[in-house]
């Protein structure tokens, strides 16, 4: 195993991109402000200088254009890794992602495919208001042909991003921007934490991958299964600590492909399941998870599957902490489901 050191999530992502550029000359990185400046979140800092402006460059403010150009480059044989500055701004590219990248392999019977990775900061908890806080993963998990990946810590961020880049299917890689510089459990009233002493911030040097389609049991437990990803993994951990309920917390890591086996084994064991995500509730990815648990664990379930999610409203500014599903709301759901 390579030597490890403690990195923030943004450093881990930067390192993954650096490793990918180093290993495969077909990897090309572009997006708004990612070149000279190094990205508004510093994810691509230093990469243009190290790898040249043919490998890492700035792009016009055109999300549709960025993804379309990536699809065209993919058809040529390149392996583009593009950035959409905020997931809230991915919608202009939706046609290229949904109608083109996702279907290229299918509609050409494998003559062409789109080995592209679309990185995008997502999620709330940062006073980002309506257009810097959204969690649009459910829109894309509904699309056949796309993979959706969401890391929750620096170690996974690097390994999953390298796996996503090396994957020949189009991958949406949503990065919880609230976690870029430290873990966040929803306790906004407490001082900001850094990744420095967190065990999952120990990141190996060089190349490694964290396989897509494999969830991780973050905490073993017997009373209830919590399905979470991104920032909500840390919120769930806090809620478990605060309620003292012996919950098993599963970090899904990839939504498509989904690790059904891990989910099924856990929910069958505990007989109870709470799904947690920041995204709005109706038709969110939690609905798919609830339906799968209901179908596969029906005879083991002792309570209805519960969902703790963002409300079905646009993401507000002033009511950040009334909207964000924090540890109090998750804890309440855990208590309620145990009492059923």
């Amino acid at each position: 195993m390579n030597a490890t050191r403690s990195l923030s999530m943004i450093q881990a992502i930067n390192e993954a991109l650096d490793v990918a550029l180093e290993r495969d000359r077909m990897v090309t990185i572009f997006g708004q402000d990612v070149g000279y400046f190094g990205g508004v979140f510093r994810a691509t800092e230093g990469l243009q200088k190290r790898h040249g402006s043919h490998r890492v460059f700035d792009a016009p403010i055109s999300e549709a254009g960025i993804v379309a150009v990536a699809v065209g480059m993919g058809a040529f044989g390149k392996r583009p890794v593009v950035e959409i500055q905020f997931a809230d701004y991915i919608y202009p590219a939706a046609d290229q992602i949904i109608s083109e990248a996702a279907r290229m392999r299918y509609r050409t019977c494998g003559e062409w495919w789109s080995p592209i990775t679309v990185r995008s900061p997502y999620g709330g908890g940062i006073y980002g208001g309506q257009t810097h806080s959204q969690s649009p993963e459910g829109i894309f998990t509904h699309v056949a042909g796309l993979k959706t990946v969401i890391p929750s810590n620096p170690h996974d961020a690097k390994g999953l991003l390298l796996a996503a880049i090396e994957d020949d299917d189009p991958v949406l890689f949503f990065e919880p921007k609230r976690l870029y510089h430290g873990p966040f459990d929803g306790h906004h009233e407490r001082p900001v934490q850094s990744w420095s002493d967190h065990p999952d911030a120990e990141v190996p040097q060089g190349h490694y991958t964290t396989p897509l389609g494999k969830a991780r049991i973050v905490r073993e437990g017997d009373e209830v299964t919590v399905l979470a990803y991104g920032t909500m993994v840390h919120v769930a951990l806090a809620a478990v600590q605060e309620t003292g309920i012996d919950a098993e917390i599963i970090d899904l890591r990839t939504l498509i492909p989904l690790d059904l086996d891990t989910i099924r084994q856990s929910a069958s064991k505990t007989g109870r399941c709470v799904v947690v995500h920041e995204a709005t509730r109706t038709c969110g990815f939690g609905a798919e998870l609830a339906a799968l648990v209901q179908k596969h664990c029906f005879f083991d379930l002792e309570a209805p599957v519960e969902r703790v999610t963002g409300w079905d409203t646009p993401y507000p500014h002033a009511f950040e902490w009334e909207y964000f599903p924090g540890p109090a709301r998750v804890g309440q759901a855990l208590r309620q489901i145990i009492e059923v």
């Binding site: 090309t28 043919h54 490998r55 792009a59 016009p60 055109s62 549709a64 254009g65 379309a68 150009v69 990536a70 699809v71 065209g72 480059m73 993919g74 058809a75 040529f76 044989g77 390149k78 583009p80 202009p92 046609d95 290229q96 109608s99 083109e100 279907r103 290229m104 392999r105 299918y106 509609r107 050409t108 019977c109 494998g110 003559e111 062409w112 495919w113 056949a144 042909g145 993979k147 994957d167 020949d168 299917d169 389609g213 498509i256 492909p257 989904l258 059904l260």
Partner: protein, 432 residues
């Protein structure tokens, strides 16, 4: 105290009410057609600037019309590509074959052999000239009306028919709507139903070629209607910003289904004129004059290949037939439009030119048409052995679930098994 205009502060009582302008085509069904408003410039009069010229120098060419074949069927002027007769005969044969193919496939749809077809009648010169002016390995990102490129590049007709019939030999395994071909070995990119998406993709392909230091260029096509899509703007912007080696084409055939070109902005300026606003070279060409189209394509290809940047070409032509087999153009346009179209028919014009040169004859032309019809007939018969739509001869059922991802994930495996169970209970004798 308010500093600017207040609600009550400014009276507009004397101004006329605002009035929304909604474009209306000149002729509707039953109307007589008079094209005298269309200025058709004399052939041969336009200068041919150097291929490395500044984009702004092409401005006059974007407002005019590059024409080579004159009223005496001679090839004239600086844009005359001076093609040898053999090349011209091959282009003529490709156009004739494309038209014969379209006619037969249209009939095939009417006979119920497939669900859908789209002809390119009247626009054959655009595709065929492109195929001849570019290298075989330059990548084409077509729309759905450039079947002539496949035909000119020698893609087997029987494969095209197999695709149209969605039969057991269909290269796309029955997944795609008829005519949405994909032919990697022929440099013909997968056709998408979503309009204009291929335009910026072509720019990306060209950028990749430039990054690699390759010599191949890309080309793409949209109709004038689809040029209204945002992807058109994205393509032009990226092409200009990165000086991408790409030839972008707008085939202005006057109609986007039932909407005349005015709804894409044609009443205000030409489509070629959009080029210079992006800093891209623009050419506007008589799309029914295959020598002019060839010359424009060649100019743009040379420009791209020598790192001088992208070109937008507007091909001014006329969609002689309905939009598709699902369309009846007599419901929205005058039937006389086609007859009166002042730029004529691309096949007839090249034919007359070759005859005027003494390089072709009526007899040879009849023979060529007969040969084209025979080729198409033979291909159709061959393809029909593999089945026609809805007659049960298709790719194995489970292939429906393949290629969504590189590998079959568990949820698709599960769904494939379920679908197969459902099919078996419906058809107990069914095998694949």
């Amino acid at each position: 105290m308010a500093l600017g205009p207040t609600r009550a502060g400014k009276s507009r009582g004397n101004l006329p009410p605002l009035d929304l302008y909604v474009p209306e085509p000149k002729f509707r069904p039953g109307d007589p057609v008079d094209y005298t408003h269309l200025e058709i410039p004399t052939a041969g009069k336009l200068a041919r600037p150097d291929e490395g010229c500044a984009a702004s120098e092409t401005w006059p060419l974007t407002l005019d019309l590059i024409r080579v074949l004159d009223e005496n069927d001679a090839a004239v002027g600086a844009w005359n590509p001076n093609l040898d007769p053999e090349t011209m005969r091959r282009m003529l044969a490709s156009m004739a074959l494309t038209r014969a193919f379209d006619d037969r496939m249209y009939r095939g749809q009417r006979q119920g052999k497939t669900s859908f077809y789209m002809k390119s009648t009247g626009e054959e010169a655009v595709s065929i000239a492109c195929a001849h002016a570019l290298a075989f390995d330059d990548m084409v990102f077509p729309s759905y009306r450039q079947q002539g490129i496949l035909i000119a590049r020698g893609y087997p007709l029987v494969e095209m028919v197999n695709q149209i019939y969605s039969n057991r030999a269909d290269p796309l395994k029955g997944r795609q709507l008829p005519i949405m071909y994909s032919a990697k070995d022929y440099g013909f990119f997968s056709i998408s139903g979503n309009l204009a998406t291929q335009f910026p993709q072509a720019v990306g392909w060209a950028m990749a070629s430039a990054i690699k230091g390759d010599t191949r260029i890309a080309t793409s096509f949209v109709g004038e209607g689809s040029s209204a899509e945002g992807d058109f703007h994205a393509a032009m912007t990226f092409a200009a910003v990165y000086n991408a080696p790409v030839v972008l084409n707008v085939v202005n055939n006057q109609w986007a289904i039932s909407s005349f070109s005015g709804f894409a902005g044609a009443e205000r300026t030409t489509f070629a004129a959009r080029a210079t606003g992006y800093g891209i070279a623009g050419l506007r060409v008589d799309g029914n004059d295959i020598l002019a189209v060839y010359a424009a394509m060649e100019w743009a290809a040379n420009r791209a290949r020598s790192n001088q940047g992208p070109t937008l070409i507007e091909h001014f032509t006329y969609r002689a037939e309905g939009h598709s087999t699902s369309d009846d153009p007599t419901a929205y346009r005058s039937a006389h439009e086609r007859e009166e179209w002042p730029l004529g028919d691309p096949i007839m014009r090249l034919k007359k030119h070759l005859i005027a040169l003494g390089e072709w004859s009526e007899e040879q032309h009849v023979e060529m048409d007969r040969d084209a019809a025979e080729q198409v007939k033979a291909a159709t018969k061959e393809a029909e052995k593999n089945g026609i739509l809805g007659h049960g001869m298709h790719h194995p059922f489970h292939t429906m679930f393949e290629d969504v991802f590189e590998e079959l994930p568990w949820h698709l495996e599960e769904q494939a098994e379920q679908a197969i169970r459902e099919r078996q209970s419906k058809f107990p004798d069914w095998k694949d």
